[in-house]
Structure formats: C-alpha cells, structure tokens
C-alpha cells in the first residue's frame, strides 16, 4: 500500500503541523549520523549544505568536475514565489491553485500547497546569500509574469536565474566543505544503491578519473540527480544528464511515477542536421513580446519577410485568444507540432515555427527590446549567425523537463525507507505539466526547507540501529553487479557506438512517446525499442580502458535509458486519457484539446520493478481534491 503520509488538518496548517511533530535529533548525536547526497544541483547542493549546517556528516557526489556545474545552471527564465510584491492579487492559495491546475490535476494538494507556502522563504534565503535578482530603480526586487498565470510572481536574474541560484547553493556547500562538514566527491558517478534489510544504506560509485569502484555507507541516501529528458537524445539538458541514479534505485525497489510525463519546451532552437547534439533553449520570456506564426499555406518556401500579413497564421492567438502567445508550454508545444505535422513548418528541416518581434520593435522601439532580451538575441546570433532584430527567430519544441521520477511521499521519501528523492528526480509537485519557473523553486524548497525536517525525522530512528560498514555482503554484491556490467560493455566488441544507439532510441521515443502518443504508436515503439535494446547488447562498441572513458560512461546511461524508455511507453499506454504533457491522440475534443478522464484516472501511477524485461507492477495513489475543484483546463 502506498502511504503518502499527508499530515492531518486543514491544507494551510499541514506543513506547520508536520514541523511541530517531527522527531528531532539531539545536536550532540548528529555527528554520529552520515548522509549521502548524490547531486549538486539546486536540490542536492541546498540539501547537503543545510544538513551539514545542522551538524550531520555529509558526503556529496556529482559527475561534473565541480559541483557548480550541475544543470540547474542552465535555467534562464526565473523562479516563482508568492510574495505579492506587485499587489496584483497573488497569494499562497492562488499560487497553489495555479500550480495544481497547470499540472492538470495530477499532483497531490498537500505537496503543492507546501511548495507555494515555502516559496517566499526561498527568495529571502537567496537574497541573503547574495543572489543578484533583478531590482527596480528604488532598490526593491522586480518581478515578471511567466507562461500560464496572470500575476507577476517570477523573480529573475537576467537570463541566468538558475546559474545565480545555484551559485548561492554551491557557495553554501563550499562553505561546509571548507569547514569539513561535507566531503565533496566530484567526477564520481553513482552506479548502484545498496539496500540492507529493506533500508537504503549506501551507494557504489565509479571514480571517473581513476576508474576505481568505491563503496560508501550512510544512514540515509538522498538523490537529487535531476531530470532524464536526455532520454530523447536531443533535448535542452546537458550531455551528462542521466536517469541512472534513479533507475538503479528503481531496480532496488523504489517506485517510479509519471514516467512518460515529459514537458516539451516550445521555444528552443530547432535541429539543423544529423550532427546535432543538443537543443538550446531560448527563454520563454521571449513570448511576452514575440508573436508565433507559420505560413497559412503548407510548404510555403518564401522568406518570412516576403509573406504578407494575410498569409500568416498566428495559430496561438487564433486558438487561444485569452492567453495567445503566452499559452502554457504543453499547449504551445503541441500547437506547434500540429502545424509542423500539417506541413506548415519552416526552416531547413521544416521543423520550426517563427517567433517574430517586428510588432514589438515597431511599438516599443528596438532599444527597449534590446534592454529586455539582448543576451538572448546574442545567443541566437552566435548559434545561427542570424540577426533576430531583422528577421524572426526559428523555434521548435524540445524535450525539456521531466515531471516524472521517483515516487515520494510527503516527506520526499521513496518507497525504500531511508532513500529520499529531491528536485527534478522525484515525481511530486508538478503533476502532468510543470508551470514555468516552478522547478527551480521546487528543487530549492526540497533541499533548503523540507529535507532538513524530513530527513532528521528518519535519522532519529537510525541512532539506535546497528552501524553498517562497507564490509557488509550487500556492498560486495552491489559492487559485483557494477563491475560485471562495465566489463560486459568493454567486451561486447560490436560495431556501433553508444551515441548511435542513444540517437536511435531518442528518435523512436520522440515519434512514438513524445508530444503526442496513441495506442498504436506506443505498441509499435515498445517493439522497436525492445529490438534496438537487443542489438545494443550485441553490437555495442566501447573502445578505451576502465579509467577515464567517456564512452564507458555513456554506455551505462544508454543501457538505463532503454529500460526507462520501455517503462515510459507502458506508462503512457496504461493511461487512457489526455492530461498535461500526456496527450493521447484517441482522447481529445473535436477541436483538438486534451480530454481528461477524472472518473478513471485521477490517480498517480507508481510502477514497481519486477526484473529484467519483466512487466512492471502498477500501484495507484488516488488523488483527492478537497480545496480546488476539478475543472477543465482552458486557456482559450
């Protein structure tokens, strides 16, 4: 039975009730307790620093060469908080209801309320750390509005909100490393979770420089290992982003939820050829002034400036008159795909739409637009050698954010006691679709404000538990699994690189389990992935040795992506409705909008691993809405 452990009491009191009743650990005892935190993004770094500040011994891990390089750095747009500084009617409740609605009613009320409740504290914390949020001339903090909501609650730091927030968390972490409370392991990849008597007790890592396989024991393990959008190969994620940490935990008993709910961001730079390795995101804020359109007629090869106004289709403004170009991401991305599939796409690969600033420049002047977006226009020019003040940008949807992840309860604990999942690695607050600027917030709130209560609540029970060392046979066994897998990759000696398989897998998933899916596409994709997976284990070629070897790193990640990809398809197949990012072609209204089915699917799917290529077992956590009513999400 899944127990979400939601505290009693009215929605607004739950978090206070929880905090008032958690078990505490005596300050003198804290140094006897060890915590492993995998990941140094906003979730991991904030959690590791906060636990060390409390006095616990922390080991922190990341695969990059410095903790500061976690992919949280890439977030441009901003971070939400219900401060109501703009006096425009914002409140904790409004932020809560916007988020629940944005997630298409597929998240837990209590978690989402807590996210909104803690949001204001995050801004305070970041400012205290020196995070340079945008300010007005009077010295007060500035805000802007972001897709899908009607208030201005987004705080931002130029186009570098993620980078600046992460530097705040990284510096807090470095302070603890300097004081000896945290030991930092960089260029280390977690490859196994060690479970003893049903509890998470450690991990196995590979030192990516020496190749050494290491054992680390602890009283609790925290995964803040980010999202897995890179499963599609082409995405806005970093090259090293992976699902391996959570997937290997999944294979040890942690359930996965919302697995196929992946947000495609509408404003990314389109793929320009086979060589392409990633898709760069252009901040969503561009949609505040840019208008999105495609030629009215399919296969129109004229240049944008040669297409007269009457022959342009501003399809978002046409379909969603109220929100227009600011329609939420899932809707904007799907609408783009719909036009591209109809043959109206533009650009060399006919896979893009225009984002046009000419009207805004005419109305506000080029200087004003420059002031707001100069860095983005500069990036665009750098990548494409095109001046977007003069001709429209080309944009296209790209895999971006994973709502899915490890199932966690209210305490952010997975189904394995002692294993916690934070940030993008968990499935919690965003339901079937995340609202822009809510995920930096979620990762930070998880690490700064929730884990420092819920992890000690667990650790309190660990004081009397028997101290586990890495000599325990469970460590030896986990280590053996890791060594065997690595040796296997190095000895298959086939013909094709890990990237080759990754690109193929990504393409299959994009076509069959991407922006839209159907029973037919999913069934076909499962068969195709299964075949490709078989070929992977027969025809993979990894050169080099067991020390520094980026190909060996990739092989492990791609192997996990295969199994994850299969579960994504199963997850999408089992949900016969459309909600948020999950758009099943069979379930739509006559005018192409998502058709949710609350009668049969108002639950969270939680999947249990049953063994290699065995079908997963589905568990259901029913969702109960007491404070908002289930409405049809409409942005018309």
């Amino acid at each position: 039975m899944l127990d979400s452990k939601i505290p009693d009491g009215p929605l607004a009191d739950k978090w206070d009730n929880y905090k008032e009743h958690v078990k505490l650990v005596n300050p003198g005892n804290r140094k006897k307790l060890d915590v492993i935190v995998v990941g140094t993004g906003l979730a991991g770094a904030s959690c590791a620093a906060s636990l060390a500040e409390l006095g616990y011994n922390v080991k922190s891990f990341c695969f990059q060469d410095s903790p500061r390089r976690a992919h949280s750095v890439a977030a441009q747009g901003g971070v939400n908080a219900a401060k109501n500084y703009k006096n425009d009617g914002d409140s904790v409740f409004r932020m809560f209801s916007d988020t629940i609605k944005g997630g298409d009613f597929r998240s837990r009320e209590a978690n989402v309320y807590r996210l909104a409740e803690c949001s204001a504290n995050l801004i305070d914390q970041a400012v205290a750390q020196g995070v340079p949020f945008a300010r007005e001339y009077g010295g007060y903090l500035n805000n802007r509005s972001f897709g899908g909501v009607q208030v201005s609650r987004t705080f931002y730091a130029r186009g570098q909100t993620g980078q600046q927030l992460l530097l705040g968390a990284y510096q807090a972490l470095m302070r603890q490393v300097g004081s000896g409370k945290v030991k930092a392991y960089t260029r280390h990849e977690m490859l196994e979770l060690v479970v003893i008597d049903g509890k998470a007790k450690g991990i196995i890592t590979r030192d990516l420089v020496t190749g050494e396989i290491e054992r680390h024991a602890a009283n609790a393990v925290v995964l803040g290992t980010g999202g897995y959008g890179k499963v599609y190969y082409l995405s806005t994620l970093a090259m090293g982003c992976n699902s391996s940490a959570i997937w290997r935990a999944h294979k040890k008993g942690a359930y996965m939820s919302g697995v196929s709910w992946i947000q495609f961001h509408p404003t990314c730079l389109p793929q320009s050829g086979e060589h392409q390795s990633k898709l760069t995101l252009m901040s969503e804020s561009l949609r505040n002034d840019g208008r999105i359109w495609v030629p009215l007629k399919p296969h129109d090869d004229r240049k944008a400036i040669d297409i007269p106004e009457a022959e342009r289709d501003y399809y978002l403004e046409r379909r969603y008159p109220t929100f227009g170009n600011l329609a939420p991401r899932d809707i904007a991305s799907r609408a783009a795909k719909e036009r591209i599939d109809a043959g109206c796409g533009v650009g060399v690969m006919k896979n893009a739409v225009f984002l046009d600033f000419s009207k805004a420049i005419k109305e506000q002047g080029q200087e004003k637009i420059k002031e707001k977006y100069s860095n983005l226009f500069k990036i665009y020019d750098k990548i494409n050698a095109v001046n977007a003040y003069e001709e429209p940008m080309l944009i296209s949807p790209a895999a971006h954010f994973t709502m899915g992840g490890l199932w966690v309860d209210y305490e952010l604990m997975t189904t394995i006691p002692g294993l916690f999942a934070l940030g993008e690695a968990n499935f919690a607050d965003h339901g079937a679709n995340r609202l822009g600027a809510n995920s930096l917030l979620q990762a930070s709130v998880d690490g700064y404000f929730i884990a420092p209560y819920s992890i000690p609540n667990y650790l309190a029970g660990e004081l009397k538990a028997e101290k586990i060392t890495t000599d325990h046979p469970a460590f030896a066994e986990a280590e053996k699994t890791v060594r065997e897998q690595l040796r296997n990759f190095l000895t298959i000696n086939g013909r094709l690189s890990a990237d080759h398989f990754h690109k193929k897998l990504g393409q299959l998933l994009y076509n069959g389990c991407g922006l839209a899916r159907s029973k037919e596409s999913l069934t076909k994709t499962i068969a195709e992935i299964t075949a490709l997976r078989t070929q992977f284990y027969q025809d993979l070629k990894i050169t080099g040795d067991e020390k520094v070897n980026s190909e060996l790193e990739k092989a492990g990640r791609v192997a996990d992506y295969f199994d994850l990809g299969l579960l994504m398809c199963d997850d999408a197949l089992s949900r016969e409705e459309s909600c948020g990012a999950h758009f099943r072609e069979e379930y739509q209204t006559p005018d192409g909008e998502a058709l949710r089915n609350d009668k049969d699917y108002c639950y969270v799917s939680a999947w249990e691993w049953k063994g290699e290529l065995e079908p997963h077992e589905l568990h259901k956590e029913p969702l109960v809405f007491e404070n908002v009513s289930l409405t049809v999400r409409s942005y018309k």
Partner: protein, 249 residues
Amino acid sequence: MKIYLKIWRQDSLATAGEMVVYQLDEVSSDMSFLEMLDLLNESLIQKSERVIEFDHDCREGICGQCGVMINGRAHGPLAHTTTCQLHMRSFKDGDTIHIEPFRAAAFPVVRDLKINRHSLDKIIQSGGFISASSGEAPEANGLLISHPVAEAAFDAGSCIGCGACVATCKNSSADLFTSAKITQFALLPQGNIERTERVLAMVDQMDAEGFGHCTNTEACEVECPQEISVLHIARMNYEYSKALLLKRN
C-alpha cells in the same frame, strides 16, 4: 569542408603527451566545435581507437565545463565565447586546427583535453560565500539595493568558472576569477560583514593553489565568456590592502 586537426593526447598526468594528427573530410559549417569532435570520436571508435577525452556538459555556454586552447587561444578564435558555442563556420575548408588543454600548474591534465580545476573550488571554499545558513534569512525586500549596485554586483557574479582567464594568462593567474567573486560580495550589503576575512583568505588560497601573479596584461578580459572586467582585479588589490591594514590595526 575538410579540416586537419592536431590534438594533444596524454594518457594521464604521469605519462608524456604529444600532438597527434587527424583529418575530417566532411565537416559542416553549422556544426558546433564540440560536434566536430564528436564526429572525430565516432570515427576513432570505428577504427577501434580510444576516443579523445574532452570536457563539456551543458553545451550552451553556461556551465563552464568545456574549454580547450584552439590555435593557441583559450576557447578559440572568437572573443567572449565558450568552446561549446564556437561553430565550425568560424573556420575554412582546409584549415589546420591545433587543440590543446587549458594549461596551468593549478590545472593538472586528467587525460587528453580534460583537466582538473579543483583549485577554483578551493578558492571559493576559503571564503567565496556569504555565511547565511538555511532558515536564517530576513524578508528579502527589507534590504534595498540600488539598481546600479545590483547590476554591478551581477556583472562580477556572472563568472562561469571555466578557467579561460587562467589558461590565457602568461602567469597562469586566477586574479580575474577571484576578484570577480570578491567584488560581487564587496558591493553588496549582505557581503559587507565578512569582507575583510574574505579577501585575505581567498587571496592566500589562490597563492597556495599555485596560481601566478597578475602583471596586468589584461589578456583574461578578452577571452572571458562573460566579459568580466579586469577592473575587478584593481578592486581586489584595494580590498586586500585595506584588509591588511585593518588587520594590523
């Protein structure tokens, strides 16, 4: 286009390295520089050779993980551009490109083009933070910071920690990196309290890590992807002298 490459190969710090010649016949000008290296690695795998190890992650110029010397310049021919944002359209058919790791005593080679920049983390550990533990913070708008001050602090704080400033400096100095953090916090009221200890500790750590001294060649500013100004170095020197005086009194 056809591209000739001369790339630094080195198994580990303990072994000697050398430049090795490669050739790619079909490079598209739309490719990024790192995608060109992907292509080369793909061909090495086909030949059963070990791939060229190089650092990268975000591939959008923000994580600071990439960085190599290209024809003798940190991050290549374009000013203020990371290696990952460089595209092959900056080169011509038939060009020979020399690729080497960022070189500095404080950045030991890991393998091929990969280096260890742990020394930069150590500088931050020594004082590159404002001590504000989780939960302690006061209301954010209780502290007003004027727009110009906030913007100036941001200019300094935008460093991505790639190390190009060190690599390009003939003295392998980390002054631009360190001074940027010192300035960011010296400008902000939140950073004021720890100002004296911070500058002393960070400058000492910089020396301890084996970075050289700044002789004002200003080469770093040219390569910095974030266009961080060398004026911060002057500010750091001022902060340092002031801190020393204060400490003596």
